[in-house]
Structure formats: C-alpha cells, structure tokens
C-alpha cells in the first residue's frame, strides 16, 4: 500500500484560516495507537463523494481514500431533461478535482474484492488498501435476464438509461430518430428501485418533446406496479399538459413486461405483445457484486444497516449508504445518498474519536419536472426507528394536488436550484 496520502490544502475546504489553524493546534487523539485512522470509500457517486469529503470536514486527521472506476460522474438527476433534449449532456458531467482538493485520495480503479476479516480492499488494477473502517456506496447493479431476453447486449438496443452516460445519449438519439407517429415504451420495475419518480419524470419530459416535435407520437408506460410515486400529481398534470399522449398501464391491465425481443422491438406482457419504436426498459436492481460478495446483502439483494450509523448489520466495520443500502423509508435518491453521506461521515468521525453516535433526523426531497416550468416534489423527514429508518409521522408528503401555475413554476425553479446546490457541494 502506498505510504503518505495526498495532503493538498485543507484550508480551502475548511473555509477560513482560523478554522484550519484551530484544527492544526488541537490535541490529536484519534486512535489509541496514535496513528490516523484510515477510511476507504468505495464508489464516487452522490453518496460516496459526499461521505468522503465530509469525513475530512468532520475530522481532517482521518486518511480518506475514495475508489471509483470512472474519471467523471454523469449525473442521473437531470438526465431526463437531457433525454428530452431540454438540457445539454455536458451539464451532467462532474469530475473529481474538487473532491481531491479537499484531501481525499482519489484512486481511479475498480474495487473487486473486500475481505472483511483482513480489512482490505483489492482492485482490478492490483492495488490493495487496508482500512480501519470501510464505507460502501456502490450504487446499483441490474438483474440481467430477470426480464427474459433483457441482458447487457439488449440494453444497447433497448436502453435503460438508469445509469447516466452513454445510455443517456443512446436513448436521446433514439427518441430524436423515431417516426413521427411512433411509440416510446417505458417499463418501470417493482419497488424498491433507484429513483421512484424517475420513470414518470422521464415520460413527462419525453411527452413535452413529442408534443413539440412529433405530435402524433405517444408514450406507453407498462408498469409492474399498481401505483407510483406522486402518481396523482403526475397523472393530473399529464392530462392537463399532454392530453392522451402518455398512456400508463398498471400491473393489472396487461401484467408486467416479462420478456423482450430486442431485434423485433417487441415487449411481451402476460396478456399481449407490444411492438414499439423506442423501448426504455428499467430492469429490477440490487446491490452490486462488490457488496454481495462481501456478505453485505440479505435475501432482498440490498444491504441492511444500522439506522443511526449506517454500519452493516452483517459485517461490522463496514458502512453502506445510498442506493445499495436498505435505508428503510428513505427512497433510493441522490438527495438521500447525500444526506446519508453527511450524517454517516459525522457519526464515523465520532466513532473514530471514541464517542457515541447521536440519533438524528434526515430529509429527502425529490423534485420532478413534469414540464420545464411545472415542478412537483415529494418530501420526507426520517429518523431511526426499531432497527430501521422510519418516516416521521405527520410530516413530509407531496406537492398540493391543486396549486397555482406560480407554485408549479417555483418548484421547477427549485428543482434546478437543488441540482446546482448539490452538485456544487458534492463535486465543487
């Protein structure tokens, strides 16, 4: 393992010279042995990048290493706007220079094996990292062939675009090139999955594009559920803004999509087949192999955690946050991952300093754009309950069913503000 970590200026991150001076001057008592604690973070998405830099904010003496395969993140939030041609692809791209400048050691490599007993992480490039605490924020992996015929090769014809990047561009291109009276099908999975309102925001913005450019085309949603996030709000807005352009079918209409034939552009449900022009299949998901192989996932495919510290219930010394975790009532969202990252960082800093973690509350807010100036939101406040994160009762909820155009416009503006805020905080 390499010796001295990067020590670029932490003053920049701490914000004032005074604070930095204070940090330097206070007695160091991080571990009994006297050497700084090492924390390794796997995954540089909204969760991992957040927890890595906020660990240093909580305690600059910790050595933080972030292992991430890609040199830049393409943001899933706002990728629907790119798919609909409303925003440029470049807006989604975030490099890691900002994270590195805080003092986090970036390792651009893929973590391939965690050994919880030896407390090591091995990478594809042959590196080995030892840790005192490990944080996994690896996101999701798709369960290929859960829908018969939908494997990685099929995703090049029927994109999921549920990890942003080339898939985002592929889906965008397909929508641009489809016939003027064509059908875009979207097949959302059952709960839990990454970004519950995402497929419906996608349908909305695609419909916005179609209304302008291919007014005879339609969006067909073949859902595997009987309801979805903010559904009353979405469906009312769809009628108001797009007429019959979006056709949603719940599971009781035709059954879920159980198979695909990509070469024929056919989706198969229990009751009938659909031949479509663009097929956006969002397959079932689970925690990625790096988490499964380390024994962090349970039979649901996701990772159970302590609701206060995010420490794994199955492997002590390893914390899991973001989409891969079972965060109880918190949805799998970027906002959740970021909030969890900040809280988890502070709790781990306390643990490394021999202090008890503190029960707290977390927030999630998911904004969705039904149209560029029509925003809706769902919010929740959460706290640790009986071994799992629960929603605080009589709080949270969705935007009002009846609201003025001004209200919807404000929420659309806040959606854009949120994106600026969070990406600046995490990657800036």
């Amino acid at each position: 393992m390499s010796s001295a970590p990067n020590t670029p200026s932490r003053r920049r991150f701490l914000g004032t010279a005074a604070a930095a001076a204070v940090a330097a001057g206070l007695p160091v008592q991080l571990k009994a042995a006297g050497s700084p604690a090492r924390v390794v973070v796997i995954g540089g998405g909204y969760g991992g990048a957040t927890v890595a830099r906020f660990l240093l904010a909580a305690d600059p003496r910790i050595h933080v290493t972030l292992i991430e395969p890609n040199r830049a993140l393409y943001s899933c939030p706002f990728s629907n706007a790119v798919i609909a041609g409303l925003k440029p692809y470049s807006m989604l791209r975030f490099g890691y220079d900002g994270v590195a400048a805080t003092g986090v050691r970036l390792v651009f490599d893929k973590a391939t094996r965690v050994d919880p007993a030896a407390k090591t992480v091995r990478t594809e490039g042959g590196q080995v990292f030892s840790y005192d605490r490990l944080i996994m924020a690896p996101g999701i992996e798709f369960i290929w062939n859960a829908i018969a015929g939908y494997d990685e090769a099929a995703a090049e014809i029927m994109p999921h675009a549920w990890k942003a990047g080339p898939q985002t561009l592929l889906l965008r291109k397909q929508i641009e090139q489809m016939p003027d009276d064509g059908v875009v099908a979207i097949a959302p999975p059952t709960n839990p999955f990454r970004c519950p309102p995402g497929p419906y925001e996608r349908a909305s913005l695609i419909a916005y594009y179609l209304k302008k450019h291919k007014p005879r085309a339609k969006v067909l949603i073949l859902d595997s559920k009987e309801s979805f996030s903010k559904d009353l709000l979405f469906r009312r807005a769809w009628k108001e803004l797009y007429g019959d352009r979006i056709e949603w079918h719940g599971i009781f209409d035709f059954g879920p999509v159980i198979a695909v034939r990509p070469k024929e552009m056919v989706l198969v449900t229990e009751k009938r087949e659909f031949r479509v022009d663009v097929a956006n299949i969002i397959p079932p998901q689970r925690a990625p192999a790096i988490a499964q192989d380390a024994g962090l996932a349970d039979e649901t495919g996701w990772c159970p955690i302590d609701p206060v510290t995010f420490e794994s219930r199955l492997q002590p010394g390893i914390h899991v946050l973001g989409d891969a975790s079972i965060a109880g009532a918190m949805p799998k969202s970027a906002f959740s991952a970021n909030a969890q990252g900040k809280v988890c960082a502070m709790q781990i800093a306390r643990l490394l300093n021999g202090e008890a973690p503190i029960q707290t509350k977390l927030i999630n807010v998911c904004y969705s754009l039904v149209a560029p100036h029509y925003g809706i939101s769902v919010a929740g406040v959460y706290r640790p309950g009986e071994g799992i994160i629960e929603e605080v009762e009589n709080a949270g909820g969705v935007s009002p069913t009846h609201a003025s155009e001004k209200f919807r416009r404000r929420e659309a503006g806040y959606a854009e503000s949120w994106f600026r805020t969070i990406t600046e905080q995490v990657f800036g």
Partner: protein
C-alpha cells in the same frame, strides 16, 4: 482568544476534536447534535444563494430562523416544500437548528 478559536472549531468542525477531557462538556454534544440535524438542510440551502434559489439560512438571527420554521410548521407561512419538512421537527430540534444556522455566518 483560545475560547474564540474553540467556538469556531465547534461551528466549522461538527465532530468534537478534543478528547483530552474525561468529562465531555455538554456544549460539544449539543453542537454535534445540531450539526447532524442540520446536515440534511444543506442539500438545498447554500451559503450564497442566487436570485431564484432557496433562501439563505446562514447567519440569520436565531430568533428569525426559529420563527420561520415554526410558522412553516403551523402553516401560518406558505412555502412550497418547507411546510412538509418543518412538520418533521419538534420545538427542541427547531431551537437547535436555529442556533446552529445563526452561528454559521453569511455567504463566503
């Protein structure tokens, strides 16, 4: 001077660094509790807000922040999302949050 620097440490460095004292002063735990509660808020609220963005909550007087949160919670003040969020916090938590943001200073 040391006390002043210490106060800054409690504000900017949420997790206590001093572990020399056997009996941790309650103030540090209170600050840590406030920082944890406040962590989610910075998902939307920044130090230097833009015209159409979320309002700044940093460096505002604690009494103002408290009153805003209480009036969002009761519905006396209409927000878009803040009414739903404020309902998730009790009076003690609102007090902690108000004092935390009040000490955070203005835009950087």
């Amino acid at each position: 001077m040391r006390l002043f620097l210490l106060a800054i440490a409690l504000v900017f460095l949420p997790a206590p660094l001093i572990s020399a004292a056997q009996d941790r002063p309650p103030a540090q735990t209170v600050e840590a509790k406030a920082a944890l509660l406040a962590a989610s808020c910075s998902g939307c609220h920044v130090r230097a807000p833009t015209k159409d963005g979320f309002p700044s909550i940093y460096g505002q007087p604690a009494a103002e922040i408290r009153d805003l949160l209480l009036s969002f919670r009761s519905g006396a003040r209409e927000g878009t999302v803040m009414n739903r969020i404020a309902k998730g916090y009790d009076n003690a938590e609102i007090e902690l949050l108000a004092h935390f943001f009040a000490t955070q200073g203005g835009p950087q």
